[in-house]
């Protein structure tokens, strides 16, 4: 609030997408307007073009949910050991968490390197498994 009064052109981040002026209210609002998913609507044009330029993808390059979901999961499950957060159904085992963390962070680099040797690695894995 202080910053806004001192620097009039400063807009808090939460308001950057708002276009309170210039909104045209239709004469009759549709009672059962349906929104088509996955289509860019006029609402996108009203928003801050900077945000349109910035790339926010639902599926990131590491195939995680948004940014760093796996670290958030690990953090939450660790906190659940220290303070009662609620029913997270015994959480998840640590080894699995570590494997997933490594998979999400390093997988997109490692897999393309290992794919040429997929058959050999698979035979090695089967041999180790049998032992």
């Amino acid at each position: 609030m202080v910053l806004t009064s001192l620097v009039p052109w400063y807009q808090p981040r939460s308001y950057r997408n708002t276009n309170l002026a210039g909104i045209t209210v239709p004469e009759t609002l549709p009672l059962r307007a349906e929104i088509e998913p996955q289509e860019r609507t006029a609402a996108h044009e009203d928003h801050d073009p900077e945000l349109d330029m910035k790339e926010h993808y639902v599926t990131g390059k590491d195939y995680d949910l948004g940014e760093g979901e796996i670290t958030r999961i690990i953090h939450t499950l660790l906190c659940n050991k220290l303070i009662p957060l609620g029913n997270l159904s015994y959480g998840a085992d640590k080894k699995g968490q570590l494997v997933l963390l490594l998979s999400h962070t390093l997988g997109r680099f490692i897999f393309p390197l290992l794919v040429p040797f997929e058959d050999k690695l698979h035979r090695l894995y089967q041999r180790i498994r049998k032992r």
């Binding site: 309170l20 209210v25 307007a33 929104i35 599926t59 948004g66 609620g86 029913n87 997933l100 794919v115």
Partner: protein, 686 residues
């Protein structure tokens, strides 16, 4: 014999383009994992969902056949056909209509025609279409080849005949660019043995030396065509393998650890290829956070209705607008073949129902107490506003009890004296004239409401499910009170997203509410995180139409009319601007819901199995959110006509994380933990 393998699509397409310019006149593509990729790592994941569909269809005819039994039948018959085919052909292929027809006959008995088989096939293909995603770069190259005048064929080793594959390709949007689709299920000659290629050569008069084949299997799509002299390019996409390995890991973990079930489901939901476009950050939040929450809520509602046999379901306005859309996306997919309740959207509101609820029972103390729950309501004028009453006829009764219309009756306002509230309660209980006047003034609203409900078929079923966001069940309370006198009034099963139960709900066998995601009567600490910001959920789900103000008798064919709030004043315009701000979020929720329906149809998780993951989402996004997440989504305008305009003594709640400043959110250490412990104390106290 060296097979040309490529580990990325763009390198393959580059090599393919170079080859295509060297006299190639025919290009054949493998279909699955080449032109189309599956969201799931194992194609067999579709089979249990189809088995559940058949089981549901059988149940509707009174046949009790479990889906594992049907799945076992399918696998057995397919295996038998493969063994039989293997005795005549090198490839042990199967044909879907043949063995699925046997399954249907075994489950349902002999059939006069193949209608049921076609319906089962249609369902399986619709599931396949939902999990298949065109590989954008390869499809673009395919179109380019066709435009250059090349012959383009698709050839696949699979149990689905070519006619079915064509439907998949058509759904993917490039059937017109394909000259023919060939399946091993029609001829029992597969690429795996190499016999499919001579078959194609003979059928289409192809020249091996001018033929290019693209696929993903080093043997079927690499070695075998090369043996015939066909140029073959094999795609071994490391990123695809990475994606599938992650999903396989989540699915395997979810078998033993319920926490991962929701995570595995969201992994399948992720958009791929051309679906994964740059989006507004609120869209991403809607897809990843609120879509699973609301979709799971809808699933919980559907489970309740199917378990209790409820045939009629109403979504209350205005949040029910989004819920109804989610239902239409999710329920038919999750419970395909089952008899789902008929759904409708009901225009209701506290302001419209409050007067109607007093027409027969009058205004009692309990309902007067509800008026003073919002901090903005202060005196008898607010009581009149909420219940649609004219104050003048009540002045003598107020005067008899030493009250005026301006007497402060709410404890959160200056000048409140407890004795005044006692006098109000005495007046409500003792003055029959007062109650007569209340009934007289509100009768018309009640009659209009009953006409509306009759038109909506509300009284036609013995049980109805009423779905609302929450939080006290006030709307259902008023609604039930307004119609309870009728002999045909149904039993009302209220299903709320969250039941905070700030005031006791008058539960009876004919009128019950239950919180699906959160219910205070069931101690659930993690889910109680939603109490950190209840308004947020209302704003996200808000319909793009004004709130209902009243039911009014009218001189038209229906006999009533619905009176909506005006949409041209400053508050309504601010609300509309706010709704525009949340539009990307709603788009993300609807897109996510569509994927949720498909993903959970495949996985078959119940609401209870997903609860721990939903608790995690509520905890991390509402009780322990990042500062940027709060700033991005924090509500700006919450319109509540039930809430009066008076300024109360109540200041900003220090326990509300979402009302803290950005500075505090970013820099105050352990703020979230501190507020979470305060909330824990509140939950334990109550």
């Amino acid at each position: 014999m060296k097979i040309r393998q490529f580990y990325s699509i763009d390198k393959l397409v580059r090599a393919g383009r170079a080859l295509a310019d060297t006299g190639i006149d025919t290009v054949t593509f493998d279909l699955f994992d080449t032109l189309l990729v599956r969201r799931i790592h194992d194609p067999d994941m579709v089979k249990p969902a189809v088995a559940r569909y058949i089981s549901n269809r059988a149940a509707r005819l009174g046949l009790r056949k479990s889906w594992p039994y049907i799945l076992k039948l399918r696998n057995t018959f397919e295996k038998e056909q493969r063994a039989a085919t293997g005795q005549r052909f090198v490839d042990q292929e199967a044909r879907y209509p043949d063995y699925m027809g046997r399954v249907i006959e075994t489950v349902f008995g002999p059939q006069n025609d193949d209608t049921l088989l076609q319906e089962v096939t249609a369902y399986e293909l619709s599931l396949e279409n939902a999990v298949l995603v065109p590989r954008a770069e390869l499809v673009a190259w395919l179109r380019e080849l066709k435009a250059q005048g090349k012959r383009v064929l698709i050839v696949s080793d699979i149990y689905l005949p070519a006619s079915h594959l064509e439907r998949l390709v058509e759904h993917a949007g490039f059937l017109e660019q394909v000259d023919a689709v060939i399946s091993s299920a029609d001829s029992f000659l597969a690429k795996a043995s190499g016999l499919a290629y001579p078959l194609l050569q003979e059928r289409f008069g192809l020249d091996y030396s001018r033929w290019l084949h693209i696929g993903d299997n080093p043997i079927s799509d690499g070695l075998r065509p090369t043996e015939q002299g066909i140029q073959a390019l094999v795609l071994r996409d490391g990123k695809e393998k990475f994606r599938k390995s992650l999903l396989k890991r989540y699915c395997n973990y979810s078998l033993g650890q319920h926490f991962y079930r929701g995570r595995a489901l969201q992994q399948i939901m992720l958009p791929l290829e051309a679906e994964n476009l740059p989006r507004h950050p609120l869209y991403v939040k809607g897809f990843n956070v609120f879509a699973p929450l609301f979709s799971a809520f809808i699933q919980g509602v559907a489970e309740h209705c199917l378990r209790t046999g409820i045939k009629r379901l109403y979504f209350f306005s205005r949040e029910g607008w989004l819920f109804e859309q989610l239902w239409r996306e999710i329920a038919p997919r999750l419970y395909a073949g089952a008899e789902l309740p008929q759904v409708s959207y009901l225009y209701v509101s506290r302001m419209a129902l409050a007067p109607a609820s007093c027409a027969l029972a009058g205004l009692d103390r309990e309902h007067a107490d509800i008026v003073f729950l919002p901090a903005g309501n202060r005196d008898f004028r607010d009581v009149c506003r909420v219940f649609g009453l004219q104050a003048e006829p009540f002045l003598p009764y107020l005067a008899q009890h030493e009250l005026t219309v301006e007497t402060v009756l709410s404890p959160v306002h200056e000048g409140f004296i407890p004795e005044n509230r006692i006098r109000l309660n005495e007046m409500l209980e003792e003055e029959e004239g007062f109650q007569e006047e209340v009934r007289r003034q509100t009768l018309a609203a009640n009659q209009a409401l009953q006409l509306y409900l009759e038109e909506q078929g509300f009284f036609a079923q013995p049980d109805v499910a009423l779905v609302d966001i929450g939080w006290l069940g006030t709307i259902q309370r008023f609604l039930h009170r307004a119609v309870a006198h009728r002999p045909d009034a149904p039993r009302c099963h209220g299903l709320l997203f969250g039941a905070s139960r700030g005031i006791a709900y008058p539960e009876t066998p004919r009128n019950q509410v239950k919180g699906v995601l959160y219910d205070r009567d069931r101690f659930d600490l993690a889910a109680s995180a939603m109490l950190a910001n209840l308004d947020l959920f209302e704003e996200i789900c808000r319909a793009p139409h004004p709130t209902l103000n009243a039911y009014r008798l009218a001189d038209n064919a229906a006999g009533y009319e619905l009176v909506f709030r005006r949409d041209d004043d400053a508050a309504a315009q601010a609300e509309q601007a706010h709704s525009e701000h949340f539009r990307p979020l709603q788009e993300g929720i609807l897109a996510g819901a569509k994927q949720y329906g498909t993903a959970n149809a495949l996985l078959g998780f119940t609401f209870a199995e997903l609860k721990s993951w939903l608790n995690y989402l509520l905890l991390t996004r509402l009780a322990f959110p990042k500062a940027s997440e709060i700033e991005e989504i924090r509500h700006q305008q919450h319109l509540d006509d039930f809430h009066g305009q008076h300024q109360s003594k109540v200041r900003r709640d220090p326990n509300k994380l979402w009302q803290r400043s950005s500075f505090a959110l970013r820099w105050r250490p352990f703020l979230r933990t501190e507020l979470f412990f305060r909330q824990l104390r509140e939950r334990l106290k109550h």
